[in-house]
Symmetry: C2
Subunit: 315 residues, 2 copies
Amino acid sequence: MPSRTYAVIGAGAVGGFYGARLARAGFDVHFLLRGDYDHVARHGLAVESKDGDFILPRVRAYRRAADLPRCDVVLLALKATQNALLPELLPPAMRDGGVVVVMQNGLEMEDEVAAIAGPGRVAGAACYLCSTKAGPGRIRHLDYGQIVLGEHATSGPAEGDRLRRIADDFRAAGVPVEITDDLVRARWKKLAWNIPFSGLEVALGCDTEAIVNDPHGAALAESVMRDVLAAARACGKPLPDDVVPALMDLTRRMTPYRASLWVDYAAGRPMEIEPIFGNPVRAALRAGYRPILVEALYRTLRVLDRRRACGPARG
Amino acid sequence: MPSRTYAVIGAGAVGGFYGARLARAGFDVHFLLRGDYDHVARHGLAVESKDGDFILPRVRAYRRAADLPRCDVVLLALKATQNALLPELLPPAMRDGGVVVVMQNGLEMEDEVAAIAGPGRVAGAACYLCSTKAGPGRIRHLDYGQIVLGEHATSGPAEGDRLRRIADDFRAAGVPVEITDDLVRARWKKLAWNIPFSGLEVALGCDTEAIVNDPHGAALAESVMRDVLAAARACGKPLPDDVVPALMDLTRRMTPYRASLWVDYAAGRPMEIEPIFGNPVRAALRAGYRPILVEALYRTLRVLDRRRACGPARG
């Protein structure tokens, strides 16, 4: 049996990194690119990584979704703020029986994708990766990289153990993978870090190190994190309480970092506010819990997003 | 009986305004000045006011507290961040039987002043005044101006009706005054506006108009305001619920404004974070209520205050 083929839609700091790792390991990976197409078609992809730099001089790059071959696995790593493009980008990239792995931030993105790709054709990956775009076709991998893979609610026994095979491919590419039987819980677990830290990076105008090193910043991050856990619990996805000290510790030991929310804010691009903040707030409200601090952070980001048009980003 | 003599300590946007109004009405007012001394001694005080501009060409100005005559009434309008100077500034300005009227922002400032001036010698004024320093010896009065006067907890019947006489002087100077028998409640009522709006001006980097005109900004201000009311209630100072729509409406109709907290933040000066935010949070916690949103705003301001040293102010 030939190995699975991969398409990467959104070959930025996340999709570019994982796609490049798979391609380096010998898998057949096809990259859909927009702004970086000319550069990557000519020079390939460069990854500066804490695990060792590498260059892929020749990359299967495409400018238009219609030109992509139909693949077994589509890694969807486009910013969720561009999901209006999915009805045009996604179907041409998927072969019959193929699966989309949603690598986007936030909650309920798989539901949105399932509405386009169809039931049973969607899985999700919570990516624990610190990486940034360092330039055209150039990705800087700062820390971590593990993935938690899970099926979407619309998948069933008919989908078999496709995630195990995908996990094997990632592991062959040197990416640690865990498979979960509760993707939504894995999403909440990632949000437990992402909501306080990426939110406060923008609201306070500083990186993770400055937040955890300021006693008020650390206390604020902790109380927002506890509010995320309460929201998750209300939604039937309780996480162990020791997640809080564990994530605070992890952040203290982490390379100082600016999450993609801040990078987008500083660059004047739309932020993924609805996927990361709005959807979790609404899910908690539907479940009967009002996450006061997450809601306040959500509203703060909405105001800053709108105000940014009028002045420089803080930070 | 000769009319009362007044000393103004902290002749800025607030003290300078009220002192100038009293002086223009013929009262004997003595101004303690620092940075503005030379300018005011030479050119007097200028007030640009929505009620009519005026200039006091000759002002009783003093550079050193020791040179002030002892007065019947001391209007204390120094920034609370400079209260470490009070043991040096206050006693020389007060005659026996005199009273300090604390015009500072925040909660519990009268307690601090009573520890220096002595029991029975302190009253407080919640000033509803939109004014700014427009330059040396130049005050810009934008809106409002009324005062709510009340005795401190250490005052008793021995203090008589001195507030009524002071109120008469202010009224003679064209300043609307109300006397309250519950100064702490009046302080909470002012905080119901001041905490959400001056706090969010700094946190969101925009003026009151931008806050109330953004649906998320207005919702955030309202929820912080409700948290202040809950804190006040816990402290035994319930305010009527219609305070919230009334203050939101008032702010919508107000001249777009930047409160002094933002002015200090933008100028790189210390903000009155502890009087306006820290003291109310601690008072509520002592009373058994945790004001989650006010606490989050408090912590946000503490981080921004510390971070400001490292970058430009937002807004």
